[in-house]
Symmetry: C2
Subunit: 323 residues, 2 copies
């Protein structure tokens, strides 16, 4: 007697809801068991045509939806506890759902973040995936945006700007003959690499942190505003992939595009000078690249991005905004 | 330097994010502090044109989005702890957002369920509101769908069928000269009345429970299936408002429409015979009407709805399904 929605859930999502608190997706709610720790809650949605493209492979849509949330948990210094999923679908396409659920299940397992529950609804409009993810930190130990201190180093994981270049490639706005570079950039757009492996180091050492989702320049501006400080950033120190560096070197893109483009999903944080080496070592030991890109300075002006001659780079926009 | 999204959040939602764990909506995540209890998690989304109508008053859209989630917490015997909101908007309409935030804030306060965080995204498609709500129960005390026992009474709060009649009125499919009845039915569709006041009684006495969201017949079928039982329901005992009873008496609708229509947001539960009176007294003391409508029986057939002659009512459909 199961309705269409119930059989859809049973078929595609029950197999990946392995946590005891998910109750096999047979109930109306899930349980997160108490551990004496704070539960960190974050929620992020992705919309077809806005955050992903209609013809993106469905497993990458699932991975992106989960990973943009995992990235927030990582930046807050939290370990993963689980997530709930809301999926708004125009119709039931079995091949699409099979691939979507496979990608979601693989990521849930890989990151140790089990599916706890969800809601599947029909929509006449674009596909939308909304995820609320849960993590744990010892009481009071969530890393905030607001703790940056004058003199702290500004650090960032991975590389910046690849995803926005990947989107430009997909939209036909950026051409490159290098097939491997093209593939890497597109992959960075479609499948973020959240830095959950670095979460414990962030918790141990960062005075402030957030993930870079809307653009390094804009997100650093938010972090500085929350902390009541500013920052001086050495633009050449901002970590770039070989592909991005190559495009930059031949003038195909400017550095502004890299630092104001979205979808990096790297951790941006500040670390006291005395802890910077220990932090960098721990992050690298976790298999994640990390770079020092500047210094927290006093002031309430937006952070300055300086070129190799020390001149301030003018940014026409800081980041992606929905409205 | 705030982006459009940030100023939207600051203007409309910060004033209602009063919980300390919301960090003034200035961070990337919220905190639910540990209490030694299980955290109950539920998520439900509503989509324009599917769960609400484009011209529904915006404050009622906000209230409905929150209340459909609160209804799940109530049915699980949980007290409210907070919620996160994902709002997908086509554009920023200040009057609409002001009314939406006002409705949301009033309900959050009324039900003691503070806004903890959220995500606001643009969409080219229909408006969508996705909420994940959190409650608390003592460890292991969440009330499941699966505990119904043969001989238990089947109980339901409030009245059944009003919301589906209200939707029929709004769609011009059901006419009534009675303006007060019309207004009451439409209000029941637009603004569910979640029975959170009855949550403690449910936790104390119910062997199984769920909220009626897709239709009494279908939801009872799910509860019976989860519990491995069936039920015999006395259809005349199903509580009806005066408006619904009037429409039924004059043949404008059939009882099938009432028990297979969605959006009731009442609590359906089973209670051991010996506890039924105590349960009913406690629920009524909390200001919520409650009725015994039948008995849990052995079997794996769908529950039977019997008319006043004891004949089984044939149902062409059990409930609303998205797919």
């Amino acid at each position: 007697m199961a309705s269409g929605e119930d059989s859809l859930i049973a078929r595609y999502f029950r197999p990946i809801a392995t946590d005891v608190g998910a109750f096999n997706l047979d109930d109306d709610a899930a349980i997160i068991a108490p551990s004496g720790e704070d539960i960190v809650v974050t929620t992020d949605a992705i919309v077809e045509g806005v955050h992903f493209l209609a013809d993106d492979p469905p497993d990458t849509i699932a991975r992106k939806a989960l990973r943009v949330n995992l990235s927030d948990l990582a930046a807050k210094g939290a370990t993963c506890a689980g997530f709930v999923l809301t999926l708004a679908l125009r119709n039931v396409d079995e091949a699409w759902l099979t691939a979507f659920a496979r990608g979601l299940g693989e990521d849930a397992k890989h990151y140790g973040c089990p599916l706890l529950g969800g809601d599947t609804v029909s929509t006449p409009g674009p596909l939308m995936v909304s995820i609320t993810a849960f993590g744990r930190v010892p009481v009071g130990k969530m890393v905030h945006r607001s703790g940056a201190k004058v003199g702290d180093r500004v650090m960032v994981t991975g590389t910046i700007g690849d995803a926005t270049l990947g989107l430009a490639v997909l939209k036909g706005k950026l051409a490159t003959d290098d097939a491997a570079a093209r593939e890497m950039l597109v992959s960075r757009y479609r499948i973020p690499q959240p830095r959950n492996a670095a979460a414990m180091a962030v918790r141990a050492h960062a005075s402030s942190a957030m993930d870079v989702s809307d653009g390094l320049a804009g997100d650093l501006t938010k972090l500085c505003a929350a902390s009541g400080v500013s920052a001086a950033i050495d633009a050449p120190s901002i970590p770039k992939s070989d592909a991005a560096a190559g495009l930059l070197a031949r003038g195909a893109v400017g550095v502004e595009a890299l630092i104001s483009g979205g979808d990096d999903y790297e951790i941006l944080c500040t670390v006291a000078d005395a802890s910077a080496d220990a932090f960098a070592s721990e992050v690298r030991r976790a298999g994640v690249a990390v770079s020092a890109i500047g210094t927290v300075i006093a002031g309430n002006h937006p952070p300055q991005f300086l070129d190799k001659q020390g001149r301030e780079i003018r940014l026409s926009r800081l980041s992606y905004s929905h409205f």
